[in-house]
């Protein structure tokens, strides 16, 4: 098979599996749902590895498969751009997806929507692959919307729960805001370059660097700044950056496997991927990069704070995802696109691991998600315990672990950046290191160490977020059990890359030729990446050297301090956090309210839209549109319909009469006008 054929198969296999399971899943044996989809995604993974190997040996391709339609001079193509970036994303997506497929066998084993779930996640894999493999904006947008759709369907997977419906509606609406910007950005690119094709757009873009656009009279902006910020607004929606982040924590209403796959490892990183792909555009606007960096820095730090006070195990991990996405965005802002992608990859592994481990804990605790009811689980769930520890250590950036290499590189790159906002960003992500370590190990200690708290809790107190129909929690006399191999195996397989992938990949990805020709950095204007490379080759020499050096740097100390403090607060002196909470009730209140974003949206946007809607509804809709137009039209059409129906009397001479009248009118009319 040739590589183009393989690439096509990679995309189609998950789609075919999804279609079969989705359409006939109810009639097939239950097990066939997972066998079919795992076969599809598994094959896609193997083939992705083949393509990745080929790209490592220098294979790149950019071709159109077919033209969907042509409108004027614009062609809407479906095509693939296969290079190192694409191939790496394909491997990561299919690998994590495969792990999640296997894991789901255990997690969803009792769910009535078993085959539906497999169909959705396979469909998601297809959509995500279409997104990353695209060679043009239209297909990118298709993939973008398709992953959004599946995400929507999966957040509301348990569609009988009001909270799930609320959450998926929220995700849907917030993403509309982002997509609106994204679509405007694409429109702008199309308008000024006349093409949707990446290669053509990137070629034309430098010539447009000095073009100014006037959106409001007398104020003109650089075209590239406006276009890039609009595109980035799309990324803010999908990758949950402040202030469009509000949907991600609520998305935890979905089943845990999809939190791992969609809301941690792959879909939410689509925005990061997109900006990296668009590096030739973003490099043309330092203003846009500053915007990106500041948004990312805010997200990285402030979302981390929120992780500290959460008690739902999945929400802690969700806020950590938000904060890590912020890190990636900051790296994009510093023009360190390759570092952002690197962090995307390491994060995909360790965050998927943490989510799946959280899911394992949830299963062990009989669907109780409150970490205050857990403790000492290391005794009962050793595999989950060890893999969680690996994941947490990777997350906080312990030297030699995967997360260390990517996170440390981000911090270094920002330190070396010179654009507006880099000072603030540097501070934010440094502080973020401490916060990350603190909440991660708060979670870790509360869950795996300490007293077995479920033994004395009665399950009467409020689990706001854990309310689901099969929620019963663990009885005080029961021991939690570790789930079977289908759950443990993905944990172990994800723990391995969380440990070593950084060590292996940092040199080629960041400082080698891996991304040459794929990611474009203007070293003269944005020299951070060049300095970083220089620094690495001059001082650190090797991944091991970097790790050893890492032990002596400020980020490591901050992380270590965070871990120690978490241990001290939650293991040694549990009374201190409570006291602090009392003393600083205002701050606590702010954090509890998540800075008021939700309340603001609820009151201003939702409420405002509702009251505006109500007015429009009462005056515009009921009186004008419904009364005069729609019902009027409907009445009119109904009346016409009724009238016309009478013409169809069933009497043959009426029909003949109509024909003759028709001919007669035509004759009169046309002979007269001639």
């Amino acid at each position: 098979m040739t590589l183009p054929q393989i690439s096509l198969l990679i995309v189609l296999l998950p789609l075919i599996a999804a279609a079969i399971v989705g359409l006939w899943g109810r009639h097939l044996p239950r097990a066939s749902a997972h066998w079919l989809t795992i076969a599809g995604v598994g094959a896609a993974f193997v083939l992705s590895v083949i393509v990745f190997k080929a790209t490592l040996n220098g294979y790149t391709a950019n071709y159109n498969l077919y033209t969907w339609l042509t409108s004027g001079d614009i062609q809407f193509n479906v095509g693939f751009l296969i290079d190192n970036l694409t191939a790496m994303m394909m491997v990561v997506v299919t690998f994590v997806s495969l792990m999640v497929h296997v894991y789901t066998i255990g997690y969803m084993s009792e769910d009535p929507g078993y085959s539906r779930f497999f169909s959705y996640i396979s469909l998601f894999t297809f959509a995500m692959l279409m997104l990353v493999m695209s060679n043009n904006f239209m297909q990118l947008f298709f993939g973008w919307e398709a992953v959004g759709l599946v995400s929507y369907l999966l957040i509301g997977f348990w569609y009988k729960r009001p909270t799930a419906i609320y959450a998926n509606l929220k995700a849907f609406l917030v993403n509309r805001v982002g997509d609106f910007g994204f679509l405007l950005g694409i429109g702008m690119v199309l308008y000024y370059t006349g093409s949707l094709d990446y290669a053509t757009v990137f070629q034309t873009a430098p010539a447009l660097a000095d073009v100014q656009v006037t959106l409001i009279p007398n104020v003109s902006w650089s075209l590239m700044t406006v276009a890039c910020i609009l595109l980035f607004i799309g990324a803010m929606g999908k990758s949950a950056q402040v202030p469009l982040h509000v949907w991600l924590p609520d998305s935890m209403e979905g089943p845990t496997p999809i939190s791992a796959l969609i809301h941690a490892a792959t879909m939410v990183t689509a925005g990061i991927f997109m900006v990296a792909r668009m590096s030739p555009l973003f490099e043309l606007s330092t203003t846009a990069l500053s915007f990106v960096m500041i948004i990312g820095a805010i997200t990285a730090l402030f979302m981390g704070f929120l992780g500290i006070i959460q008690n739902d195990i999945k929400r802690v991990v969700a806020y950590s995802t938000l904060s890590q996405l912020g890190y990636m965005t900051v790296a994009l802002g510093a023009s360190a696109y390759s570092v952002a992608i690197f962090h995307l990859m390491t994060h995909a592994f360790f965050k998927a691991l943490l989510f799946l481990a959280a899911g394992s804990v949830i299963m062990g605790m009989h669907h109780d998600q409150d970490i205050r009811n857990m403790g000492n689980l290391k005794k009962y769930m050793p595999v989950t315990w060890i893999t969680s520890l690996v994941g947490s250590l990777a997350l906080i950036g312990t030297p030699f672990f995967a997360g260390f290499y990517s996170k440390d590189s981000i911090i270094e790159a920002v330190a070396l950046s010179n654009i507006t906002g880099s000072g603030f960003a540097y501070f934010a992500i440094l502080a973020g290191v401490f916060v990350t370590a603190f909440y991660s190990f708060r979670l870790y200690f509360l869950v795996f160490h300490g007293k077995e708290k479920w033994r004395k809790t009665s399950h009467s107190h409020d689990h706001v977020h854990a309310a689901d129909e099969h929620h019963h929690g663990l009885s005080p006399q029961d021991d939690p059990h570790e789930p079977g191999w289908v759950v443990k195996l993905p944990l172990i397989l994800l723990a391995i890359p969380s440990l070593i992938i950084g060590y292996i990949a940092i040199e080629p990805m960041l400082f080698g030729e891996f991304f040459s020709g794929v990611i474009f950095v203007n070293d003269e204007v944005h020299p951070a990446m060049a300095h970083l490379t220089h620094h690495y080759h001059e001082i650190l020499h090797s991944p091991a050297g970097m790790a050893l050096h890492g032990f002596m740097t400020l980020p490591f100390m901050l992380a270590a301090f965070g871990v120690l403090l978490a241990w001290f607060f939650y293991m040694k002196r549990p009374d201190i956090p409570a006291a602090i909470q009392k003393k600083f009730s205002l701050i606590n209140q702010i954090l509890e309210n998540k800075y008021g974003f939700d309340a603001f949206n609820e009151r201003f946007f939702a409420g405002g839209a509702r009251s505006l809607g109500e007015k429009l509804w009462k005056i515009g809709d009921i009186q004008l549109i419904d009364g005069a137009m729609v019902n009027g039209t409907a009445r009119l059409i109904g009346r016409i319909s009724g009238k016309v129906r009478h013409l169809q009397s069933g009497l043959i001479y009426h029909y003949a009469f109509a024909m003759i009248i028709g001919v007669f009118l035509f004759l009169t009319f046309f002979i007269k006008i001639n």
């Binding site: 033209t67 339609l69 016309v644 169809q648 069933g650 003949a656 109509a658 004759l667 002979i671 001639n674």
Partner: protein
């Protein structure tokens, strides 16, 4: 002798169908009723053989036979192949239906083949006489097929109406043809065209002839105000015959419209463009609006046909190659959709039960998700929802009309298409959101299920990949009209 031989070879597909139709008629006298399936097989074989001969004698340029009365060009060959395919699918869909109602007889197949022969002659007609002859052969077969279930009062009534109105329309067409013959002195469309170029086209007699010819064509399509027969005949005829009337003859009607208007009367384009515009706008409006009030599925699809004809005329009225090609694309899409839509009614029907009311579709998703899904695709395609074939078909004809400058008509058509979406989506709503009224098992032969699935899937796939079909239509039109 040599001349006759080449003539006969050119018409080999027609001769095959003619011979086989007569053979089937004879064979039916000797065959036992339980062996009638042989006749069905023979009919399918005939289609295959005719298709084979059409491919073998495929003519990549334009050739004439029988003293220029018969033309063999890519347009004719491709339309014939499409007609064979459609007829073959129709035979697959209707077999069980005819068996269950005691209509599985040799005459049915003979009649269908004769009708097919009529269509083929229309498609290859290059002279007013051949065109008229083909048209009459087709029409007479269809009249009698509508009355095939002769003890059914509704069917005979429908046949009667169809016959009387059809005779009237035939008369008009013939009258118009005679005027044009009188003015130009020729029956050959190419000669008519060159004669017209040299005379004053404002002559009232010419206009008179044109109006009558257009009226005759419009009747065949079922365009307003010559649409009256469509709902009654669609509803009254046995569903299998409705399927036939609604689908492949439209290819033939398309062909004679091309031959008469685009080839013969092209110099009068300014006039017939306006006539088509009026009919197109009225058809779309009346078709879509009246369809809303229907409770009978067959009747609803009849009105839907009228609106589709309106869209089809949008391509014609551009009066350029691009417009004709998009019309050809539209007619192919339309036939595929009609086959799928009526095929679905046949699928849901069973012994003693006609699934022809909208209520019969209620809760179909619970009875058979697959059938519901196929119907969903068909309805989406008819409504023109992307990425189905119907969307692309509407898109191309409207684009052609837009380029020809009919901006307001296009805007109107789009608004009407939105109104039309209502009744298609109502079907989807009934299938997916309502509780089923009857829970009888859906049983159909495997071949029918398979072909129907492919048919509906094609509506989706061709919508995603329309280029090949579009190219075929473009090539056929460009080579044959230049």
């Amino acid at each position: 002798m040599e001349y006759i031989k080449t003539d006969l070879i050119t018409a080999l597909p027609e001769l095959t169908v003619l011979f086989m139709a007569m053979f089937i008629l004879l064979l039916d006298l000797f065959i036992k009723p339980k062996n009638r399936i042989v006749i069905y097989g023979l009919a399918q074989f005939t289609l295959l053989a005719a298709a084979y001969f059409t491919v073998v004698t495929y003519n990549p340029s334009v050739g004439y036979a029988f003293s220029n009365m018969f033309v063999d060009d890519p347009l004719a060959d491709i339309l014939k192949l499409m007609t064979f395919l459609g007829t073959s699918m129709m035979l697959v869909y209707t077999r069980q239906y005819m068996q269950q109602r005691g209509m599985f007889r040799g005459e049915y197949y003979a009649m269908v083949l004769f009708a097919l022969l009529g269509m083929m002659i229309m498609i290859s007609g290059q002279s007013l006489l051949t065109i008229y002859m083909g048209l009459e052969l087709l029409s007479l077969c269809l009249y009698s097929l509508v009355a095939f279930d002769r003890d059914n009062a509704r069917a005979t009534e429908a046949a009667m109406k169809y016959f009387v109105l059809g005779a009237l329309a035939s008369g008009m067409l013939l009258y118009g043809m005679s005027m044009i013959y009188g003015m130009t002195g020729s029956l050959n469309v190419a000669e008519i065209s060159s004669a017209l170029l040299e005379m004053n086209t404002k002559n009232p007699v010419l206009i008179l002839g044109l109006v009558f010819v257009v009226a005759g064509l419009a009747f065949k399509f079922g365009a307003v105000p010559f649409q009256m027969w469509v709902p009654d005949v669609y509803q009254g005829a046995p569903t299998s015959i409705t399927l036939l009337i609604g689908s492949v003859p439209k290819f033939a009607a398309f062909a004679i419209t091309i031959r008469l208007l685009a080839q013969g009367l092209q110099p009068l384009a300014v006039d017939w463009q306006d006539m088509l515009l009026i009919m197109a706008v009225l058809s779309i409006a009346i078709g879509n609006i009246t369809a809303i009030a229907q409770t009978n599925l067959k009747r609803m699809l009849a009105y839907s046909t009228i609106s589709h004809v309106g869209f089809l005329l949008f391509g014609f009225m551009s009066a350029n190659l691009n417009g004709f090609a998009s019309s050809m694309f539209y007619i192919s899409a339309y036939v595929l959709m009609t086959l799928a839509g009526f095929g679905m009614i046949l699928l849901l029907s069973r012994q003693g039960f006609e699934a022809e009311n909208l209520d019969d579709l209620k809760g179909l998703n619970q009875r058979s998700p697959w059938a519901a899904f196929l119907m969903l695709i068909t309805m989406f395609s008819m409504a023109g929802v992307p990425p189905t074939l119907g969307f692309y078909a509407k898109f191309t004809v409207l684009q052609a009309a837009l380029q020809a400058g009919f901006i307001w008509a296009v805007v109107f058509a789009v608004v009407m298409a939105a109104i039309g979406a209502f009744y298609y989506l109502r079907v989807v709503k009934l299938m997916y959101f309502d509780a089923p009224k009857d829970n009888a098992r859906i049983s159909a032969p495997v071949d029918m299920q398979l072909v129907l699935s492919i048919n509906a899937a094609a509506l989706l796939l061709l919508g995603i990949m329309p280029q090949t079909l579009m190219q075929i239509c473009g090539v056929a039109i460009v080579i044959s009209l230049q």
